[in-house]
């Protein structure tokens, strides 16, 4: 029985990342880029890997694509190893960095890549779908950044993959380009394809994914429908100068989920900032210099992960590593 399973995995097999760990050597000791990730993705799902720079998204994607071998754990793509899935042409990918090779027209380059796959889309369809038809005759070295990005999408799509993986695909695009890009991606996902994309824009995850996997410091800190994630990270912080008040008392105020002291000031994370500010002012009329701000994604991540010392240290290390790559 086991051989049958190995040859033809069940049609329901999706993508499974189990216990992934990846550590890179760094100048100040090892950098734990990914520290134990478990994610399951059903076929046909569109999932965002959401997280700030250095969260481990690209490393995770490299392992999903088989470009990087995990130190621990395993990756299964439709019941196969990433290498097998790639060899069968089941994966289309748009990597974070990358330019095009020169001295070919856009149409020729897409046709060249299409020829490598067992059952590609028609080249004209891929050009149309990704909006590169009008400059299909241009040489690749003459394209703008936005055009290049769309050609890279055409290359990812032309293979007609079961799984489309996009690593921060809209970074080089303007607002209009982004809208067009996601329209294409949605049309593609509507054909029952599985899509995994990495982003650090909450709005993109919210608008285009069924589900978001929040990552920080190389670990998954939340995984659920985007509406849930939005509720969790869409908090506000209230900051006020208020010396001499015990933090524990502030944390207990209505509408406040946690409180923290920073010198003279206190920072309150609010589940409902309207309720919180009324409660604060009635209890402590002396509070001044009050600011209420929507929590940035980065800040929200810290709230979810706990801003422990180790986390801050590894974040700095991750930033160093990214700087070295650039």
């Amino acid at each position: 029985m086991s051989t049958i399973t190995a040859e033809s995995p069940p049609a329901t097999a999706g993508i499974r990342l189990s216990g992934l760990v990846k550590t890179f050597p760094g100048p100040d000791g090892p950098i734990r880029a990914v520290r134990g990730i478990d994610v399951e993705i059903a076929p046909g799902e569109t999932v965002a890997l959401l997280g700030p720079n250095g969260a481990g998204k690209s490393t995770t994607i490299d392992m999903l694509l088989g470009l990087l071998a995990p130190d621990e754990g395993s990756v299964s793509v439709f019941g196969r190893s990433p290498a097998e899935a790639v060899a069968r042409g089941s994966i289309g990918g748009m990597l974070q960095t990358g330019e095009l090779i020169r001295d070919l027209s856009v149409g020729e380059l897409v046709a060249m890549m299409a020829s490598l796959y067992p059952s590609p889309l028609r080249v004209e369809d891929a050009l149309e779908l990704s909006g590169v038809r009008e400059f299909a005759a241009q040489r690749t070295q003459k394209l703008s950044g936005g055009q290049t990005q769309r050609v890279r999408l055409a290359i990812a799509l032309v293979s007609d993959p079961q799984l489309l993986v996009l690593d921060e695909p809209t970074v080089a695009l303007d607002v209009e380009g982004r809208r067009a890009f996601w329209a294409t991606m949605r049309a593609f996902a509507a054909r029952g394809k599985t899509v995994v994309f990495a982003t650090h824009y909450l709005e993109e995850a919210d608008a285009y994914a069924d589900r978001a996997v929040l990552m920080a410091h190389g670990a998954v800190v939340a995984d659920g429908p985007t509406t849930e994630i939005r509720a969790r990270v869409g908090t506000r912080t209230l900051r006020a100068t208020l010396p001499g008040v015990e933090v524990g008392a502030l944390g207990g105020l209505p509408g406040v989920s946690s409180a923290e002291r920073r010198g003279e000031a206190v920072v309150l994370r609010c589940s409902d900032s309207d309720v919180a500010i009324r409660a604060l002012l009635s209890a402590y009329p002396g509070a001044r210099d009050i600011e209420i701000a929507a929590a940035g994604l980065e800040e929200a991540f810290l709230a979810l992960t706990g801003d422990d010392h180790e986390g801050a240290e590894s974040r700095a290390a991750d930033q160093t590593r990214r700087g070295g790559e650039a």
Binding site: G89, G92, G98, L104, S115, L116, E325
Partner: protein
């Protein structure tokens, strides 16, 4: 071999005019500069080979060696822009990728070779058809270790560093292989030459003397270099998986 992929790969190499003209033009210009004043020398340096033939094959060695190593420069350039990673997530196998790169190198090498043959013929090189073919076959076989060397360098170096590495490497191989002037008939340089693949490439001109242009030693040296450089190239490829 993926046909359409190969076709476009050859096409884009031919479209890169600057590269193409330089790699073809340089050996040709050198050939005319060196040979024109001496084209009537029938027995160059007592070798029994005419000056025009000696340098025709010498510069063909130089030109084809450069053409094969230029595969490496193209690989390095593709790695630098992340294209290599893009290809790794396609069903294209590394074996097919290298085959296409080597074929591209051979295409340029062959064009360079034919251009030098034409130049040689214009300066009086005359050989029976069988000897032209034999010589060509030896040169094409002798290029295999250089293909492996190109792939290895392409995966180890950046586009910035591969230029000087190749320029220096080719000059040294040409010098030690007797491309610029015949090696002495005995002594250290002569002995060293026996172990260098470019020496045997340049030796292809000895078909004009009759007998075997390559001794058993020649074949052994070529096979040994191919095996060693092939293994090193495979290792360089396997180690080179990350982002640059």
């Amino acid at each position: 071999m993926p046909l359409l992929y190969t076709r476009y790969e050859l096409l884009r190499t031919l479209r890169n005019r600057r590269f193409f003209l330089l790699s073809l033009g340089f050996p040709l210009v050198l050939y005319f500069v060196i040979v024109s004043p001496n084209r009537h020398v029938r027995n160059f340096d007592g070798s029994g080979i005419s000056f025009a033939l000696y340098y025709m094959v010498g510069l063909a060695t130089f030109g084809t060696m450069s053409a094969m190593l230029s595969c490496g420069a193209r690989i390095a350039a593709e790695r630098a822009v992340g294209w290599n990673r893009q290809l790794r997530i396609t069903p294209l196998t590394p074996r097919a990728y290298f085959r296409v790169k080597v074929l591209t190198g051979y295409m340029i090498a062959l064009i360079s070779l034919l251009a030098l043959y034409a130049a040689g013929a214009s300066l009086g090189v005359r050989l029976p058809a069988a000897e032209w073919l034999k010589m060509t076959a030896l040169i094409l076989v002798g290029l295999i270790p250089f293909a492996a060397l190109g792939i290895m360098l392409g995966h180890m170096l950046t586009p910035d560093s591969i230029g000087p590495a190749m320029g220096g490497g080719i000059s040294l191989l040409a010098l030690l292989g007797g491309v610029w002037f015949p090696l002495p008939s005995h002594g250290f340089l002569h002995d060293l030459g026996q172990y260098i693949p470019s020496y045997w490439l340049a030796r292809a001109s000895h078909v004009a003397l009759g007998g075997a242009a390559w001794s058993t030693m020649g074949w052994v040296v070529m096979v040994a270099w191919t095996v060693v450089l092939g293994a090193l190239a495979a290792r360089a490829y396997r180690r080179d998986t990350g982002r640059i």
